[in-house]
Amino acid sequence: MIALDGVAIGVPGRTLVRGIHARIAAGEFLAVLGPNGVGKTTLLRAMCGIRPVLEGTIAVDGRALRSLSVAARARAIAFVTADDAMIESLRVRDVVAIGRYPHHPWWEWNPNPQDHEAVERALRAVQMTREAERLFTTLSSGERQRIWIAMGLAQATPVILLDEPTSHLDVRVAHEILALLRDLARDGRTVVCVLHDLNDAAAYADRLLLLGCERMLACDVPDRVLVPQLIEEAYGVGVLRVDTPQGPRVFTAVRGE
């Protein structure tokens, strides 16, 4: 479980969002939504402890994040970012194995059977087992995205945070990844994921956290967050809501001259 109490986040010289309160339980999938630049990535970075919060506290399983050592944090929370990296001559399997770093003391250089098992499981989960021996540089951007997710999975943490994991992915793979994240939550992990597609978020996440200009607008089930008034306040664009048997869906209402 990860808890945010009165959290404010920002970049040097500017506060992005204040007053974030949320409790994300084990087994829950929370999608973080909001317009570009509002602070979604900054929030995720604060939640994994690599960026300080300006106010408030973040706790994981009842322990304040800032009281944990770097290694203890990495054993509790994985963070998957879509940032690209130039990696010369590392195989896909080697990249995924980097996720095992926090499970080793500094003097232990060689992987153990648990590492091999975790890497294989992670590769299977993102359907990249067949590509395990390929050089990372030869992968397409969508395949790389899946490998970053696999690296996070190999970290075997109770909490996993993902920053736009479906960017660069085609529709089918994007849905496979979202289904995988939902399954991870069903298996007891806490999954927090920044998404841009509101309907994908409504279809897969248990709750949505909507960020607006300098404040959290809502953190609730999709039915109560995908409300035209809230979406218009967050994004500055009108939407049309359609209730389907699978839940609410929204469509941007484009107005011509």
Binding site: A74, R75, I77, A78, V95, Y101, W109
Partner: protein, 327 residues
């Protein structure tokens, strides 16, 4: 497969060491070399040549090669840049400038290695201070600072050569710049070994984080790497290893740049394999290059730095461009 490749590299190291022991002014049969190695306290001439002249030189070449290649592999990994070498820390340029000025001022030759070592480390501290950002090291700043400071000190060396009235002084400066292990012995190795060992220890501490650093600072932090600490460890390790090498053999280029690429092709990029493989390949290449440098125009010696540039540049271009095409 990896074990087999390491065994092969180990065999190559032994062969390179033995070939290097064979090279020298007097021709000694391989069996006599072996006998001398097995009987270190023998008082015959061969034992004296092997134990007092050739073995220290092979050991120095091995240490220099291993140190430069390890530093290169560490720095290339940390900066995610395959085109950097340990001299980016400014160590060689600082040492060269100090030694050039010292020769010009008439400082006694035996003091030069220690002077070069200290000046090299001080320059590394300046470069590191310029590269500092927040609590860690900024890769772009490090490259910029390393290149700028090196350019500045290279200009000082050129100035010293131009201002030198004595051809002997200019010759001495050039000899340092070209790199050589001529005249070095056990005492030189003993002087440098503590720093090499500390550098190797720091490298061992930082190496497990190297793979994570290669996928970016953010990802490294999220898997539990203390990125700032790892960066300073790598910079300190590389500076110490490079400074000890410069004190032992002057400027020997290309080993720190090329050998990690060779090692990568042999054992892959994972740090736990790459670092030891780089050290072993560096030791073998430097010992072999020293043997060739001693033999090719005997009884004179070709500066090893020059020889390595002749071999190293085409080899590096082939390896790097071939790798680009196959990637």
């Amino acid at each position: 497969m990896v074990s087999f490749r390491f065994a092969l590299i180990g065999l190559l190291v032994l062969l390179a060491f033995f070939a290097s022991l064979l090279a020298g002014g007097s021709s000694i049969a391989p069996s006599a070399i072996l006998a001398a190695l097995l009987h270190p306290h023998s008082s015959n001439d061969v034992a004296t040549i092997v134990w007092q002249l050739r073995l220290p030189r092979v050991a120095i070449a091995a240490v220099v090669g291993a140190a430069l290649a390890t530093g290169g592999a560490l720095l290339q990994g940390m900066l995610r840049n395959p085109l950097v070498d340990p001299y980016l820390t400014g160590v060689s340029a600082g040492a060269a400038a100090a030694i050039a000025l010292a020769i010009l001022a008439g400082v006694a030759a035996p003091l030069l290695p220690a002077l070069g070592f200290i000046a090299g480390l001080l320059t590394a501290v300046i470069v590191a201070a310029l590269a500092r950002r927040g609590g860690g090291v900024d890769a772009n700043r490090l490259i910029l600072a390393g290149i700028s400071i090196s350019a500045l000190f290279s200009a000082i060396v050129v100035f010293a050569i131009a201002r030198s009235d004595s051809p002997d002084a200019a010759q001495s400066i050039l000899a340092w710049l070209a790199g050589s292990m001529a005249g070095r012995g056990w005492s030189d190795l003993l002087f440098a070994m503590p720093y090499v060992l500390i550098g190797a220890g720091l490298a061992a501490l930082a190496a497990p984080a190297l793979d994570a650093l290669r996928v970016g600072d953010i990802r490294a932090r999220t898997v539990g790497v203390d990125v700032d600490r790892a960066q300073w460890l790598i910079l300190a390790a590389t500076s110490l290893l490079a400074a000890a090498s410069v004190a032992l053999a002057g400027m020997i280029g290309f080993i720190g740049l090329i050998v990690p690429h060779v090692a990568r092709r042999l054992v892959g990029s994972r740090a736990r394999l790459l670092i030891p493989a780089s050290a072993m390949c560096g030791a073998a290449l430097c010992a072999l290059a020293d043997a060739v440098a001693r033999s090719i125009i005997a009884p004179s010696e070709l500066p090893i730095g020059v020889l390595l540039a002749f071999i190293g540049v085409p080899a590096f271009l082939y390896l790097y461009l071939h790798q680009e095409q196959t990637a």
